[in-house]
Amino acid sequence: MKKYLEDLRQELIKQKMTAKEIEEIIADHEEMIRTALAEGLSVEEIKAKFGDPSQLAEELSDFDSKEDAEQEETDDYVLWQEFEVNDESVSINVNLLSEDITYQSTDETKVKVFYCGKRKIDKYELSFEKNELRLSAPRKFGFHFSFNNEDDLTFLIEIPKNVMINELKHVAVSSDMELKNLIVKQMTLNTTSGDLKVKHASLGVAKWHTVNGDIEIKETKFLSLNSSQVNGDISMKEVTIDGDFKVNTVSGDVELQEVTCDNFEVNTVSGDVNGKEFYPKMVALKSVSGDISIKNKEDRYIEIVKKHSVSGDIHIGR
């Protein structure tokens, strides 16, 4: 029974299902197998009755048509350190200044940290303890720390395919961040001018704060998303948000294409919101001079909870 459930979990992770979905499906199967055992079925009989878990995971996935996003070539980087993972999940805590960073998945079983650039790497702190990966830029001189060598430094972190990221905490000043082909249960992002790019991922509960970094999300699932910007833009394509989607922006534009969510709450001063094939169940819109427009081909019911604008236009329809 344990083996079947473990196999199933791995297969569900491969299909990039959200952590919540995986837990539900596993709980349902635990219950069904327990009942089968109580009825006196042998392990072999149960195997035959339940069938192949990989097929089950495929049937359950709505991601199956999507290919993994193109990965970064590790050849362009120097391997810095690698760590053995002895759990099904890890946490990541990253604190950077201006170094760009990519998070992606790997077929291998170790967490790997690569870098590229000429800056002195030994000034950086890197550790992996109790399944938590920590990477920090030198803090000695605080915010005004400057390098003699102006070369850019870029990091690449690889996480094994069958390992989930429990929590990803990313704090940076102007680092650009890219994330692809990973499952994250909880994600917090805090940057000033760093951009964020996500492709083909499952991000669970996400909370972002950027000042003027731009955000681009493709082929990704969320449980909920709370994003706040000052003048960074957001663009999303083929995104499913199981729960609520909150956006707070001063002058950043929001572009949404093929996006679904429960409750969409947007608060904008002068940023425009443009939705195409955007299907929230409910919307609460507030803008000062920003225009809000949602254009959908399909005539699905959208409940308007709140609609308020001083001088901007709000339009929901075809």
Binding site: P53, L56, E59, L60
Partner: protein, 125 residues
Amino acid sequence: MNAQFKRGIIELCVLSVLVEKDMYGYLIINKLSDFIDVNENTIYPILRRLTKEDYFETYLEESNEGAPRKYYKMTEKGFIFYLQLREEWDSFIGGVYQIINQGGKKNEEIFRRFKTRINQTKDDS
């Protein structure tokens, strides 16, 4: 059998057993696999999808094994969907039977007639 086609039929079967009464997952699987060759890995995704589409609701109820079980209950929306699907199926399968039984119901008779026809074609050529 064509996977898409089979899925549609099993969907109807799942709806048919839940129209009778609320059931837990394993019982639904047993009800179906008693009659047709089908695995859990086909039935469970259907249960989950129909629940997501609000055709079923779920609730937990204590069982005598200790841990509670998840029961599936058909909603009104599910019932309307079932009636629709059932009607489509009845008219479709009715038509299919008419076509396949056109030549009479006995296999032996059909085989005998086919044999004569085949032999005739051979003689002709």
